[in-house]
């Protein structure tokens, strides 16, 4: 469980997050949604510690992450897996070496044990015979899946995904969504997904946080979202004809 308590963050005098509090529960896919520039990426980066918060605190299962220094954060960081928007795979390493990277850095396993784990993770994301390929040789969807494989290599307790569907076709997006949801349930992880893909909201939104102009504007389940009367939420979520039809048909 991750608890965000009253965090604020600004850059060069501009307030990007203003007193945001929310709770991300274990075993659920928690979605952060909001328009471009609303502050959802900043919120996620504050939660994982890539940005230091100006005010407030982030708790990972009761541990105050915001107050810790680099050394104290290390054990928690090893419990975190993150899938970046562009994959953030290391260009100079093959797919196999990318997934093996955290194992090389933080475990004392033998090469065979690490290779077995890599192959298991790659199979888990439905990738076979790609071990020796480099990131430049695989498609966008495959990159995302390799990134997910790398993120789960260390058996994380917390999984963060920053717009996992951006740049992907609808079918591949559904595959990625389902994969994240399955992994969340399988490993009982606390998963936080930053998205503005409304299909993802329908497919896997257990708990949804709506960020509007740097503030947490709304929070609830998908069913609550579908039935809400909140104008800003409705304007954002049900902006397209397809989503309007979804709302109309329940």
């Amino acid at each position: 469980m991750i608890e965000v308590k009253n965090i604020s963050k600004g850059f060069k005098g501009k307030q990007v997050l203003d007193n945001v509090s929310c709770l991300f529960e274990k075993g659920k896919t928690n979605l952060i949604i909001g328009a471009s520039g609303s502050g959802k990426t900043v919120l996620m980066k504050c939660v994982v510690g890539l940005f230091e918060v100006d005010k407030g605190a982030v708790y990972f299962d009761g541990r105050n992450f915001s107050e810790m220094n680099f050394k104290e954060r290390k054990p928690i960081r090893q419990e975190i897996g993150m899938v970046f928007q562009g994959g953030a795979l290391f260009d100079s390493l093959s797919v196999e070496k990318n997934v093996m990277f955290p194992l090389n850095m933080f475990t004392t396993q033998t090469y065979k044990e690490k290779l077995d784990r890599v192959n298991f993770c790659l199979q888990r994301v439905n990738l076979v015979n790609v071990n020796k390929l480099f990131p430049s040789e695989i498609s966008g969807g495959m990159k995302k899946r390799v990134a997910i494989a790398r993120a789960i290599a260390m058996n994380p307790q917390y999984l963060f995904c920053d717009e996992p569907n951006s740049g992907l076709d609808p079918q591949t997006s559904i595959v990625i969504d389902n994969l994240i949801k399955e992994l969340t349930e399988e490993y009982n992880m606390t998963t936080i997904i930053n998205t503005h893909d409304m299909n993802s909201v329908i497919e896997m939104g257990d708990h949804i946080v709506f960020i509007y102009k740097g503030k947490k504007f709304w929070e609830g389940s998908y069913e609550e979202l579908r039935d809400t009367d909140n104008k800003e939420v409705n304007d954002f979520v049900f902006a397209t004809k397809i989503m309007k039809a979804v709302k109309a048909n329940g």
């Binding site: 680099f70 953030a88 990277f101 850095m105």
Partner: protein
């Protein structure tokens, strides 16, 4: 302007502090150092050999052109060529050339990693990204560049000898006599000290500029240019300081 300068200097030292953090796993860093030895050292051989041969040849011909006084023996050209190459050309000019080749490569590599969130990925894993990306490059440069500079010295003198002999400006025997005459072994040590300092400057300054890249492809290019310019200026400043401190 001074405010910006102090900001950059301060941030550089904060960045360098990251190198003092104990590596997560020595074997991984060791492997990185091996890769960087090849990338920085072997990758630079071609340009170093070509530059050295031609610079040696030019120094010889220009020295001969200027030393036309009958009171100055012809072998003085060999002395001038040797000392110019050992004291200044190989440790300084070659490192300036490498600031262009290796420095821009380091800055663009790390800069691209920054804008594609690869550095964020390292940080999320709990890896000290500045240390992981920079320390192996600095260590490799400090190990391999003295050998590259020694090679440059040798090739420069060979280039000078060949130019003198082929053009007939300095007969081979006179040039070789000059190269051997009044040789001061400490000059080599001085050149090595300069090389180690300059190797540190090129790799650390270039890594710093790459690490703090913000934006996209355009900014990566700008960081790469800044890395070369700042490395070159700092090398020249330290060239003066070291010469003043050690030789005078």
């Amino acid at each position: 302007m001074f405010k910006v300068l102090w900001f950059e200097v301060g941030r550089y030292w904060i960045f360098m502090k990251g190198l003092l953090i104990k590596p997560e796993k020595f074997i991984v860093y060791y492997r990185q150092v091996m890769l960087e030895l090849v990338s920085i050292g072997i990758g630079a051989m071609g340009i170093v050999v070509i530059t050295s041969i031609f610079m040696g040849a030019i120094i010889t011909i220009q020295s001969a052109y200027n030393l036309v006084n009958p009171l100055v023996p012809l072998y003085a050209v060999g002395i001038v060529t040797r000392d110019s190459i050992i004291l200044e050309f190989s440790p300084t000019i070659i490192l300036l050339v490498l600031a262009g080749k290796v420095g821009s490569s380091i800055a663009s590599e790390i800069g691209t990693m920054r804008v594609t969130e690869q550095i964020d990925a390292l940080e999320i894993m709990g890896i000290n990204s500045s240390g992981y990306l920079t320390l192996p490059k600095i260590v490799a440069a400090i190990i391999i560049l003295p050998f590259v500079v020694l090679l440059s010295m040798f090739m420069g003198i060979v280039g000078g000898w060949a130019a003198g002999a082929l053009s007939g400006v300095v007969p081979s025997a006179d040039f070789i006599k000059g190269v051997q005459d009044q040789f001061v072994p400490f000059n080599i040590a001085f050149a090595m000290i300069k090389t180690v300092v300059f190797a540190f400057i090129v790799t650390s300054v270039s890594s710093y500029h790459g690490y703090y890249t913000e934006g996209g492809a355009l900014e990566v290019g700008q960081s790469s240019t800044k890395a070369v310019v700042y490395s070159s200026v700092v090398i020249l400043i330290f060239d003066y300081i070291l010469t003043q401190l050690i030789l005078v």
